[in-house]
């Protein structure tokens, strides 16, 4: 009935040495994945949109639709 004495010290240190590298690397991975899955495509989408954007044309289209109060459609 003589069991070996259980480990009494260094339990937190052992846990941290195991879990902290994993935690940090997973967080870093999550950040990198978010960057390349979300932010980079979004930046590209914005860039592509404004490459072919004609502000005046869009304004006139909106004006004709009648949403502005300062400029009414050209017919009125």
């Amino acid at each position: 009935m003589s069991l070996p004495k259980p480990v009494m010290r260094g339990l937190l240190g052992k846990r941290l040495r195991f879990h902290l590298p994993i935690a940090f690397s997973l967080s870093l991975l999550a950040a990198i994945a978010f960057k390349y899955a979300v932010t980079e495509p979004r930046k590209q989408a914005y860039a592509d949109f404004y490459k072919q954007y004609d502000a005046v044309k869009e304004f006139n289209a909106m004006r004709e639709a009648g949403i502005f109060e300062s400029v009414r459609p050209s017919g009125e």
Partner: protein, 179 residues
Amino acid sequence: MQPTLVHTAALGLNWPRTSRRRCCAITDRQLLRTHECDGITVDMSQPMYWDRLDTPLPDKAYKDVLTAGDKSLKEKEKGPWNQLTKEEKIALYRLMFCQTYPEMKKRTDEWKTVVGGIFIFLGFTGLVVWWQRIYVYPQRPRTLEEEWQAKQLKRMLDMRVSPIEGFSAKWDYEKGQWK
């Protein structure tokens, strides 16, 4: 290797008593015997007995008042335990404890009551909401009508709401339809 007294009984041996035996935390008290109808009063300043899964050893034994037979058994317990018979060991266990762990962990049908009660109250709430719909709710806002919603949608597209990645980005302005 002798198993401990607690372990033997906690293996779930069928105790030859009625299954309706009810064990509770209130025990006989020499000092406090109430026969009134308003219930048993417990002196909470004294050590108490309890049957709890998370606290295995209560502050006191289950049985306070020992009969002569119990007392002689307790005397025998002071000697070597391998001279106790199985029945004596079980009797000693039952002096110390009311229920064994398997008895405490026994499945009950309480969940049926709980689920039934949940459904009853959900049903009642449904009736209350129905009554409210008829007698309390104000008139439905006109902004929820089909025609208004269609005009709202057209206005959002005219305003070019979220034209890059969101709403108007999904509308094809040349063809006048969703992409």
